[in-house]
Point group: C2
Chain length 198, copies 2
């Protein structure tokens, strides 16, 4: 088995959601595990001087169409949530904490958070919504609420974003395999072609 596939995602990115539904089967095809990396696009866009996608003239309208069409073409349940985009920091922190302490539960939480936002329309920018999703899979809401307020966890997410940037990650979803970088759900087929050439 090769090294794990590094999968960087932001809960506020529909293409990250689409990718999250397929990354495990893709990694399995390649005989690899998945390392999940919650990140925040906000600080990255700031560094790059980029505007958030939906605010770019023409591109925003196209993106909205492309989200829906991509979901349809790949049979992924999806409805563009309101509000969109959102600050995904609470969801990212909760995921990071669990990845550090209970990796198997973390994967389940990540899938449930994506579903909560893109299928059930739950505004997961609200911490109480994140806690409700966590409670649904048997996690202790009170304990997680305390964890989310912890400065060490806040710093850990900042460090994770900085570490991602240092590896050249500037968007989401972003996949790195054996140091080879791939940006976007639309690179999944390229990953397969690239792996076949190796």
């Amino acid at each position: 088995m090769g090294t794990a596939v590094d999968f960087y995602f932001d809960f506020s990115s529909p293409y990250s959601y689409f990718a999250s539904t397929r990354i495990e089967s893709l990694a399995k095809e390649l005989g690899r595990e998945v390392n999940w990396h919650p990140i925040l696009l906000g600080p990255m866009f700031k560094l790059m001087g980029s505007a958030p996608l939906m605010q770019v003239p023409l591109k925003g309208a196209y993106a909205e169409k492309d989200f829906a069409r991509t979901a349809q073409l790949f049979n992924i349940p999806f409805e563009l949530p309101k509000p969109f985009p959102i600050a995904s920091v609470a969801a990212a922190r909760a995921s990071l904490y669990l990845l550090q302490h209970r990796p198997d539960t973390a994967r389940l939480l990540i899938h449930r958070l994506f579903k909560a936002y893109y299928v059930d329309g739950l505004d997961i920018s609200q911490q109480d919504k994140v806690l409700a999703v966590a409670a649904d899979i048997g996690l202790d809401g009170n304990q997680l609420a305390a964890v989310l307020a912890d400065d060490q966890l806040k710093a850990a997410l900042k460090d994770a974003v900085a570490a991602a940037l240092a590896r050249g990650v500037f968007g989401a979803p972003f996949i790195i395999i054996d140091d080879e970088p791939f940006w976007g759900f639309d690179r999944f087929e390229h990953i397969r072609m690239w792996a076949a050439l190796k």
Copy 2:
């Protein structure tokens, strides 16, 4: 046979070049013709407040890697030219003129200009290089030089860019089929899937 596929491209865009090598076979699969539309990304980026790709931190370096890898994965001859990117206005004007007057020759010229830049490393931002490529396929260089200086042709290209923007075209390559917009060489597979659903 359905309506033609509208194919918008900028000679300065490697993904436009990649797409130009496959758009005719894709259209044929769909039982359609191709309408070629040379455009200029410069005025579009200005309107959208976007920086040119290669100037965006991290994204520029990734793009350079992705150009080379995409070319390799799809078996397309390619070497990132120097200088890159370039002002592609002379090439775009020559293509537009021929599309208006000799469409079959125009297609050949477009393919040759892409090849001149991305395979042979010819700097087609220089008008004399564009004329040399045109002469290679039997066009009259002196006549074309006169045409390229014509205010009517300059205005026609500006109008073409404005018309593209009015249809929501904000990047290249950009494909519109039956009013359905697709942005990027990486949407070719989506086009096939979308057409299969219709």
